[in-house]
Symmetry: C2
Subunit: 323 residues, 2 copies
């Protein structure tokens, strides 16, 4: 079978991760990258770079477009224009707006005969899928989502605004106590403040440490009311250990089946957040292509896609080997 030809739209962190990870897939090739910029410093200098404005003229060159655009404004504004011309997969992550986005993409995709898979990635995405399945299996269970250990950009920025802070990052980390309660089905209405620890790594002069720690712990909205850990480290350690983009989390579902606790947990530990988001998006490109080849059209969330459609392995081989 011919490879699935994918195009990338947008070339930030996510687009660069997609470009890198397409190469790991046995049945895909990168047809080109659409960008508003004239030239890009791509991994492979031979990859065609095409103007986003000319998207509709190039749809003979690829099967599925991976929209690597921002969720804040780009996806809602631009995705409907792209789906009118080609199948797309996006990682739209504005949870409250996904239903509206899916409905709009569905309308345009059905008219155009294309397939959109929306809100892939891990949350929304793999976490959504696990929340849905676990709750269907254990309908009376408690379910909690924990995020982290993960870099929080907003909180890191807040630390860096404190006078005397030279470098700083903040990681959000699930509280071990809260995780334990959730696994035993005893977490009840746990809120985000109880469930997470805010761990800070700060580079500053030793003389400023006491004042800076106090300013952190008393910063309203960002740190007050949370479990906060402040670690002062030297610059070399910071540069060696704290410049990555780790993230991850847990979906914990624990229920009682008549006197017995049953716990389901899905855990992601990601050294590089955009790489994993890209990896999920790429896998769903396969499903978008196959659905369209099968004559389907419209918009789908990950909940609506049969799992075997995302695998490069044939259904027969999956059933023989993995089931």
């Amino acid at each position: 079978m011919a490879d699935i030809r994918v195009a990338i739209v947008g070339y930030g962190n996510l687009g660069r991760s997609v470009e890198k990870l397409i190469q790991q897939q046995p049945d895909m090739e990168l047809a080109g990258i659409f960008s508003r910029r004239d030239s890009l410093d791509t991994l492979d200098p031979d990859t065609p770079v095409l103007p986003s404005a000319g998207f509709a003229e190039h749809t003979d060159k690829f099967d599925v477009a991976l929209l690597c655009l921002g969720s804040a404004t780009d996806i809602p504004a631009q995705a409907p224009e792209f789906i009118a011309h080609a199948s797309t997969v996006d990682t739209y992550d504005n949870h409250r707006d996904i239903a509206r986005h899916r409905a709009e993409m569905d309308k345009v995709a059905k008219a155009a005969g294309t397939v959109a898979i929306v809100a892939t990635g891990w949350d929304p995405g793999m976490f959504s899928l696990n929340r849905t399945l676990a709750k269907a299996i254990l309908p009376t269970a408690q379910q909690h989502t924990f995020w982290g250990p993960g870099l929080s950009q907003g909180h890191s920025d807040a630390l860096r605004r404190i006078e005397g802070v030279r470098k700083a990052v903040q990681y959000t980390i699930p509280s071990e106590d809260a995780l334990g309660s959730a696994r035993r089905g005893e977490a009840g209405d746990l809120d985000g403040k109880q469930a997470h620890v805010r761990r800070c790594f700060v580079v500053c002069d030793a003389a400023d440490e006491e004042r800076i720690e106090n300013e952190i712990r008393t910063m309203p909205d960002y740190f007050v009311g949370y479990q906060v850990e402040v670690n002062f480290i030297d610059e070399a350690t910071f540069d060696a250990e704290h410049t990555g983009m780790p993230h991850g989390g847990h979906v914990v579902t624990a229920g009682d089946t008549g006197g017995f606790t049953q716990s389901i947990e899905y855990t992601l530990e990601l050294e590089r957040n955009p790489d994993f988001t890209a990896a999920v998006q790429i896998a769903y490109a396969r499903a978008a292509h196959r659905l369209r080849e099968a004559g389907e059209s419209g918009a789908y969330t990950v909940l609506e896609v049969a799992p075997y459609l995302v695998s490069p392995t044939s259904l027969d081989e999956l059933i023989t080997r993995d089931v």
Copy 2:
């Protein structure tokens, strides 16, 4: 919408768990239990008990039959007879024979206009689904399945055959070292002996302990070559803590995305194994019913069922709330 009416076929541990857990589902009712026995000690004495031989005459009373029969001989022999008359969900767990079983059920189901969902439960079942998705997302990753902590019936029997052993159980437990290696993507071709610890709890006279421990550690096939832990406990502790049917395990997938380790882990911790198998089987009854209502027929594994079909919540509400 009217409740989904389910019937149970077979009344061992699994059938009893299904009977209990149907009550937790918001949209299902138990229509009756088919058994080869004349009378059953059911949870609800009003539940109709019907003869298995008369299955075909009662298909107007239920929408889906949950086949709670043994995988060794009953499912392969009897499931094709049931699917000829009604939609079914089974927990067939003979991994090497699932492709053949699915093909046979598919043929009969398509001729009868019914829907069979085969090999549900957790392994095969939820573990299969997680193996497939994780490998599709991280195609170059290492993937390992660990089982336990779980009661091993065969090994517990072997312990009880040793002279002087009054009571004994053996749990198979994933090795923490092996789990750690798998999570870091460094486990390579780990085999089952390295990956698991065999933990024994034995009740015997103190004078016999040394001899019994030696007999356990030198027992070929069962214990030689494994990490073995032997714990001697008193009878009261045994009766209080070691008469359950716990099980569970981990599917660990760890891959490299160009210099970064990404790890996906799905964990089950089950205080009662048949209850959880039943809970998964029940959820897939919903999918079987919906697929048939939509005009589909044939046999499906969990890989072929879109996740939202197993949830009691409507797709619109899932997208708004869980995605």
